[in-house]
Symmetry: C2
Subunit: 303 residues, 2 copies
Amino acid sequence: MPEERKTIKDFKQLISLLKERNICKRTVVVWPEDSHTQESVSQAAHEGFIEPILVCSEDTEKGYVRQHGFQAIIAHEPAEAARKAVELVREQKADIVMKGFLNTDVLLRAILDKEIGILPKDTVLTHITAAKLPEYHKLLFFTDAAVIPTPTDKQRREQVRYIVDFCHAFQIECPKVALIHCSEKVDERHFPYTASYAMLKEEGETGAFGPCRIDGPLDLKTSCSAEAMKIKQIDSPIEGEADALVFPDIEAGNLFYKTITLFCHAETAAVLQGTIAPVVLPSRGDTIESKFYSLALASLISR
Amino acid sequence: MPEERKTIKDFKQLISLLKERNICKRTVVVWPEDSHTQESVSQAAHEGFIEPILVCSEDTEKGYVRQHGFQAIIAHEPAEAARKAVELVREQKADIVMKGFLNTDVLLRAILDKEIGILPKDTVLTHITAAKLPEYHKLLFFTDAAVIPTPTDKQRREQVRYIVDFCHAFQIECPKVALIHCSEKVDERHFPYTASYAMLKEEGETGAFGPCRIDGPLDLKTSCSAEAMKIKQIDSPIEGEADALVFPDIEAGNLFYKTITLFCHAETAAVLQGTIAPVVLPSRGDTIESKFYSLALASLISR
C-alpha cells in the first residue's frame, strides 16, 4: 500500500509530520545573542526536528550553550560568525542556516559571496512565507515579502517553481497558485507583468512545474474567496481557494506579510530559497513562535 | 467658547456627527438597479444625511422609487444615466455621485469627459478609503486602492493633500500621515519614490498641507504599531499610530484594501477625490454596509 499523504493544513500538523518522519536537521545558528533566537532554537531542538550548531560569542557559549548541551563554535563578531556558518554548509556539515542577532546585510554578504557563499551561480534567491490565518481554512504560501524588489520574468518563474515545490512538500497534491494583481485584466501598458502571468499559466499547463494549477492575473479576494469569485462571475481553476500567492513586487508581498501579522493574528514561517541550504531570516519584530515555525518549515524542505 | 471638536474614531461616530450637524446632501445615484445599492441608499436617506436623486430605469422608478417617495430621472441605459448624473452635478443640483449597477468604466467615461465631465482640468483624480479595523484603535485612511497605477510625484502630493483634508474633516487636528514602503530606508535606485517621500515630508513641515505630521519611508508595522517602532528603534512623529497611509502604488493599496476586508473584518468607506463632487464608486463585492458608510463619508467631505 502506498504511504498515505495527508495535506498539512497548519503548523501543528507540520510539527507532527516532522516527528512522524523522524526529521532532524543540522541547523547552524548565526550569532544567537538574543533571548528570542535562543528560545526558538531550544524549542525546536526540544521537539527534536533540529540539531543546533551555534556560532556564538564566548559568553553565550559559557551560558546558554552549555546549559543546553548544544554544539558551538566561538566567533568574535557577527561577520565572522556568518562566514563560519556558510562554511559549515559548504562542507555539508549543516542543512539549515538561521540568522540570530545581527544585521541581515551582514549575513547576506556571506551567503552571496562568490567565493565562500552558498548561492549557486545563476540561481534566483527569493523569500517564501507560509501563513496560517484564522480566517482561512488552510495554509497560504506567498512570495516575495523580503528579497526581490521587482521580479523579472525569470525570477518570477523561479518563485512559482519554488512555491509549488513547497506546496508539494506540504503534501498538497495539486496546489492552486494565484498570480496576484489588483484586477483580473491583463494590462500590459500599466502593468507589464500581467502579460507575463499569461505565459506562466501556459507553462504550468504544460507541466513545467509538476502538478499544479496556475492562474492570473487574479486579485486577492478572487483568489481566496469562492464567494468573491462567484460575484465577479470569474471562472478559474483556483476556485477561490488558493494555496499560494505570487505577488507582483516586494511592496505588495511585504505589505501582505505585515498586514496579516499586525491585523489578522496570522502565524507565519518564512525562509530564503535558492541557496544550497534554506536560510531562516527573521525580522527583528518577529515572534519566538514565528522563528520556531520557520525552523520547522526549513526542516521540512531542506534536502 | 469655541465649538468642541471631538475626533471621529469610527463610523458610528461619523453618522452621529452628520446628524448633529444636520448634514443632508443631494446624492445622484447612477443606475441603481440592484438591491445592494437600493438598500444602502434607503438606509442613508432614512438616517437623513442624503437626499437621493435616482437616475434609473422605468421599472425601478415604478417600484423602488415610488415606494420610498424619492426623486427620480428616467434613463434607458447605464451610459445615459451616467451622463445625466454628471450633468446634475455640473448644474449644482447634486452634491455627491454614487455608482449603482453599471461598469466602472462607463461611469468614469462620463466623469472624465472633457466637455460634460466633472474633473477640473489638471486636477488629480484619486481614491481614498477610510477603514475601521477591529485591531486598530481608530480610523485608518489610505490611498490609493483603485485609480492611479503608479503615482507621479505630483499625484502623490495631491494624495497627501486630499487625505490630510479628509482627516481634518474627521476632526483629527494634526493627522499622522505615513508614506509606506517595505522598509525605512530611502533607496532611490530600486524604489525612486522613496526619495520623493523625503520631499513630501519637508513640504509637510513647512505647512503646505495644513496641520499634520508626515513621515516616510515607513513600513506598515512601524506606522501602526508603537511596539514595532520601539523594537526597530525608530524615532518618528507617526509614533506607531498613523491616521493615514499613502501607498507606493495601486498594487499595494488595492491589496491592503482586499486583505483587511477579506481577512480582518474591516469596515470600510471609500470615495473618489478630485472631482467637483465626491464620487462613491463601490466594487461589486462590497457589502451594503460599506456602501452606506461610503455615502456617509461622502456627505461629510462634500462641500
